[in-house]
């Protein structure tokens, strides 16, 4: 597996910490998912921050703070600085949202914020679209990882634009790439792995499942299956049938 900013992740699962029915279920889901990274955020202190901090420490995973909800470069950069101090990490999942309904990234501001943060020593994980040119600009800006969306956050639609994601994978073979957002089912996670992506990042698919722990386990198995499938060099799909049973030697019985 390609290192993420010099860190070798023990698994290809990155999991969000929001929306679980309880902290206990969150912890169990993390164990079942074999996640190696937990995404977290910063919000106004309400007295719960210290408890949550201790709980995520106990998960024993790497912490990836986000800039969720930010709509401007300035807001995202300031949030990143605050996150770096609180979480004591240079890692930042950079989100600059451009559209209220689809939560589609504003890729113009995203590139600008990424450039500012990378120059300031941050290791930026940009939440981006599947646009190849934006990917190039993000790499130029100093990102060493790309996180294209599969589908809008929380939609569970899977990989909406497989063609573009394939193109992106082919264009940047050496860049660690994570499918971030849109995963709803284990088959979507397996799909991402089969296409050769390096990891998946999800939250809602697990946290909002009827049984988050069982879903976390299913996701872990799907990621493992998809990874093995990619390594095994799958066949190309084709339009016409091709008999698998030998034709030669067939009896003449008509």
């Amino acid at each position: 597996m390609k290192p993420f900013y010099g860190t070798q992740l023990p698994s290809r699962m990155m999991l969000g910490t929001a929306q679980y029915p309880s902290p206990a279920v969150l912890a169990q889901a993390f164990r079942a998912s074999k996640a190696s990274v937990a995404t977290v955020s910063l919000r106004r202190e309400s007295g719960a921050g210290e408890t949550f901090w201790r709980m995520i420490q106990d998960l024993g995973v790497l912490i990836l703070p986000n800039t969720a909800g930010c709509h401007t470069v300035k807001e995202a950069v300031t949030t990143a600085h605050m996150a770096r101090e609180v979480f004591d990490t240079n890692w930042i999942k950079l989100e600059v949202i451009g559209h209220a309904d689809s939560l589609q990234p504003d890729v113009f501001q995203l590139v600008e914020a990424a450039r500012i943060l990378a120059a300031d020593g941050f290791q930026v994980f940009p939440y981006t679209t599947e646009d190849l040119i934006v990917g190039e600009k993000l790499l130029d800006a100093g990102c060493e990882i790309l996180m294209p969306w599969g589908a809008p956050i929380g939609s569970g639609l899977g990989l909406n634009n497989e063609y573009a994601l394939r193109a992106m994978r082919a264009e940047f073979p050496d860049v660690p790439m994570v499918i971030d957002a849109g995963i709803g089912l284990p088959s979507h996670a397996a799909h991402a792995m089969e296409l050769g992506f390096d990891a998946v990042l999800m939250n809602t698919a697990v946290a909002h499942a009827g049984d988050p722990v069982e879903m976390a386990r299913a996701m872990a198995q799907a990621i493992e299956a998809g990874t093995k499938a990619h390594r095994a060099d799958p066949i190309e799909a084709r339009d016409m049938a091709e008999p698998s049973t030998p034709v030669i030697g067939k009896a003449f019985l008509t």
Binding site: Q19, V40, S41, L42, E45, E50, F52, A83, V86
Partner: protein, 64 residues
């Protein structure tokens, strides 16, 4: 002096950012910003507040 602390107007005795955190019991793991500018923890004691300043005090929270 009146400041806007996490969106709510409140009266404080403190004169600088570090003292505000102590006065309001916000001395756990937090990050601060004043008037939309990040103020690192080492700068808080030296950051004098003015009437009407907007202070944000953020802490770790669940996120995706």
């Amino acid at each position: 002096m009146k400041i806007v602390l996490n969106g709510e107007l409140c009266e404080v005795q403190a004169m600088n950012l570090a003292e505000v955190l102590v006065e309001r019991g916000l001395n756990s793991r937090v990050a601060t910003a004043v008037n939309e500018e990040f103020v690192p923890s080492v700068m808080r004691a030296g950051h004098q507040l003015r009437d009407g300043d907007r202070v944000e005090v953020l802490s770790p929270m669940q996120g995706g």
